[in-house]
């Protein structure tokens, strides 16, 4: 017996009551996990336009599913606790409890997987943001193309809210044409020069949109002719720090989401702890109550344990059971075909066993 504890009637009652409370606590924590998943999912969906793929959505999806299943599972545990001290009502839960333990273990494993995933998927999130932001910056000017007409507003609001500019930094804006051709005067010399200055015929300028402007700058925002020191009074491009946001939006968004997921880490770990303790206590309660019902005096002492035999033996038993089920499944189709052959094979086997059995009694007698 693994980790056995003796339980008096009073202790069993206390255990049932305590477990009932803890199961309701576990129901609350399941609801908390579900709400956490919903919150993460909404935050990810809000910025879905600057993300290229939805791999990161695995984390909130698993959280939501685990939350819902956990609510149901722990509610079942509360019902079991309520029936546990009534000898007539408890036996009907017997079969369900095996399945319950399996489901509870699975939930704990899934929650652990979520914690691991939230760290492991950081690289994928960055990649997704890189591609999404690059597209957003490229399509910034396409406010007349259906399907892309809100890219400008999205990127502007993003840069203002997260205090960032461009993908890696503000120079990303120098490499794309972010002013639509509709607003360019093609008869102007300046415009014609700029368009001819590069192979693709794009209107590139050393300027950024207004959403890159930093309100904390002591000087009114300088957006255009950023690399030209003589275009502005008392301006040095290399030394100017506060004029625009210096952080790139990819870094800003990755930091934001990583911080969100890291802050949920302790919460998820404590929920795992609660679920494990409910599991262990329910196992003790089950074995103690079953032991008590088997006694002559149901109010007497009984022994509660985690596993009936040691870890290795239980493992061997489970393996044997699983193999039996598999063999049972295998034997059935072959038995249907070769049943006469099997019977013939069995008969000489029986004879040999009988022959082997018969000599043994004579030396004994």
């Amino acid at each position: 017996m693994l980790l056995k504890i003796t339980f008096t009637q009073q202790r069993r009652v206390r255990l049932a009551q305590g477990l009932w409370l803890m199961s309701w606590l576990a129901v609350m924590s399941g609801a908390f996990i579900f709400c956490l998943g919903v919150y993460l999912k909404t935050e990810l969906l809000r910025r879905a336009e600057v993300m290229d793929n939805t791999e990161i959505h695995m984390v909130p999806n698993i959280l939501m599913m685990v939350g819902l299943v956990s609510i149901g599972t722990n509610w079942v545990a509360t019902r079991v606790c309520q029936d546990s001290l009534d000898a007539s009502r408890f036996p009907r839960w017997k079969l369900l409890l095996m399945a319950w333990f399996a489901v509870a273990m699975l939930l704990c494993c899934l929650l652990l997987a979520v914690v691991v995933l939230s760290y492991a998927l950081q690289g994928r999130l960055e990649e997704s943001l890189k591609v999404g932001l690059r597209n957003g910056i490229r399509f910034y000017k396409d406010t007349d193309v259906p399907g892309r007409c809100f890219q400008k507003e999205t990127i502007d609001r993003l840069q203002m809210e997260f205090r960032c500019c461009g993908n890696n930094n503000f120079k990303d804006w120098f490499e794309v044409q972010w002013v639509s051709n509709r607003y360019l005067d093609f008869t102007s010399k300046d415009v014609k020069d700029r368009i001819r200055s590069n192979v693709d015929g794009r209107y590139l300028l050393d300027g950024v949109p207004f959403s890159c402007c930093n309100p904390a700058s002591p000087r009114p925002c300088l957006q255009y002719h950023l690399t030209d020191n003589s275009a502005h009074y008392s301006y040095d491009y290399q030394a100017e720090e506060l004029n625009l946001y210096s952080r790139g939006c990819r870094q800003a968004l990755t930091d934001y989401y990583m911080e969100m997921m890291n802050s949920t880490g302790p919460g998820v770990l404590s929920v795992i702890l609660i679920q494990m303790s409910v599991l262990v206590s329910l196992r003790y309660l089950q074995t103690a109550v079953e032991g008590a019902t088997a006694l002559e005096d149901p109010e007497g002492e009984s022994v509660g344990y985690l596993l009936e035999k040691g870890v290795k033996e239980t493992f061997e038993d489970v393996k044997a059971n699983v193999l039996d089920i598999l063999k049972f499944a295998q034997v059935d189709p072959s038995a249907a075909e070769g049943s006469p052959g099997a019977e013939d094979a069995e008969k000489p086997a029986d004879n040999t066993t009988e022959k082997a059995a018969s000599p043994t009694p004579s030396p004994a007698s």
């Binding site: 507003e153 203002m160 509709r182 607003y183 005067d185 949109p209 207004f210 309100p215 000087r219 008392s234």
Partner: protein, 342 residues
């Protein structure tokens, strides 16, 4: 003849006590809510006190905080009294205090009415403070090197971005002030010299607005400078252009935010007044029902509860005569003293 009498048997009394206990705890929660609303309102006023020239009146949030705390205390006491009401020994402890307690509750209700009125009336004061504060804010936008005003630029920019507004009444307010500091103006430049000489006070005025007035929803990259000059930009007409910059003034935007906040707090306080009145009525019924038990030893006996011992008119006239006799006793004493002297 008592006012609004109701017959009570044991079961009804027990139900009344239990229901009233729950209602008192709801009122405690309402008191906590009023307290937190007061704190929230105070924080919101402090956040934007620069926009109001640090002149804003904190009367309403302070009152709300006080009223919230008082409500919690009074209602918790009421809940305790209800809890003990069905046990005659415990209830006899509270009996003498009940009259004072009900009078206190009356006074508290009057205070709540006053707070609710203030929530609606103080909105005018907020409007005036905002108007004055914003005009100062726009004037001091450029003074990022003056101690005490160096964060005005950032605050005003963040406000315009957050509330989707530009200027005090509209964006033209920016045309009337110099919002670029002299530190960033090249005084040897002809254009700058022309602009500075063009007005009496020597201010560098231009038809431009800061970047925080820009509307991200515009299909076109933001046009901030030379707003009234159609030829300065390709395909631009300043009279028909709508989405380029925010058209709403910050006075209107901020005032609508604060007025909706204050109105909803006022409505909630009205709801709290109704809740308190119901509590008071219930407690009066419960206390009179327990007092008028024909056989105090037998808990199962019937009793009668009422709101006022006599009718409304008679109670009112009683109150008046009491006040008059109170005044007259003072006078009589004054009359006796000179007689005693002579």
């Amino acid at each position: 003849m008592p006012f609004m009498p109701v017959k009570f048997n044991l079961q009804k009394r027990v139900k009344l006590a239990q229901g009233l206990w729950m209602l008192y705890w709801f009122s405690v929660i309402a008191g906590i809510l009023i307290f937190s609303l007061g704190i929230f309102f105070k924080i919101e006023l402090r956040k934007r006190s620069e926009m109001m020239d640090n002149n804003e009146s904190h009367l309403v949030p302070n009152l709300l905080i006080l009223v919230g705390l008082l409500a919690c205390g009074l209602n918790a006491f009421g809940g305790k009294v209800c809890h003990d009401s069905l046990d005659p020994i415990k209830f006899s402890k509270w009996k003498p205090m009940l009259k004072t307690y009900l009078l206190l509750c009356c006074g508290f209700n009057v205070l709540l009415v006053l707070v609710s009125l203030l929530c609606f009336l103080m909105q005018f004061s907020v409007y005036l403070t905002l108007a004055e504060g914003l005009s100062y804010a726009i004037r001091f936008y450029k003074d990022t090197d003056t101690p005490g005003r160096c964060f005005m630029k950032r605050t005003l920019d963040m406000t315009q971005i957050e509330f989707h507004c530009c200027g005090n009444n509209n964006f033209r307010d920016w045309f009337e002030v110099q919002w670029i500091s002299n530190r960033y103006l090249d005084m040897s430049n002809d254009v700058v010299k022309d602009r500075v000489l063009s007005n009496v006070e020597g201010k560098y005025l231009m038809d431009s607005v800061p970047f925080s007035c820009c509307n991200p929803g515009s299909p076109r990259p933001c046009i901030q400078h030379h707003l009234t000059n159609n030829s300065a930009h390709y395909d631009y007409d300043h009279r028909t252009e709508e989405l380029n910059i925010w058209t709403r003034g910050c006075l209107e935007a901020l005032f609508s935010y604060y007025s909706s906040l204050m109105s909803s707090i006022g409505v909630f306080v009205l709801f709290a007044i109704i809740l308190e009145s119901v509590d008071m009525a219930g407690l009066k019924y419960l206390s009179t029902a327990l007092e008028t038990m024909a056989e105090p030893e037998n808990p199962e006996c019937e009793s009668e509860g009422w709101l006022l011992e006599k009718g409304v008119k008679e109670t009112f006239s009683d109150l008046l005569t009491k006040l008059k006799t109170f005044g007259r006793t003072n006078q009589v004493e004054g009359g006796d003293a000179p007689e005693a002297n002579t």
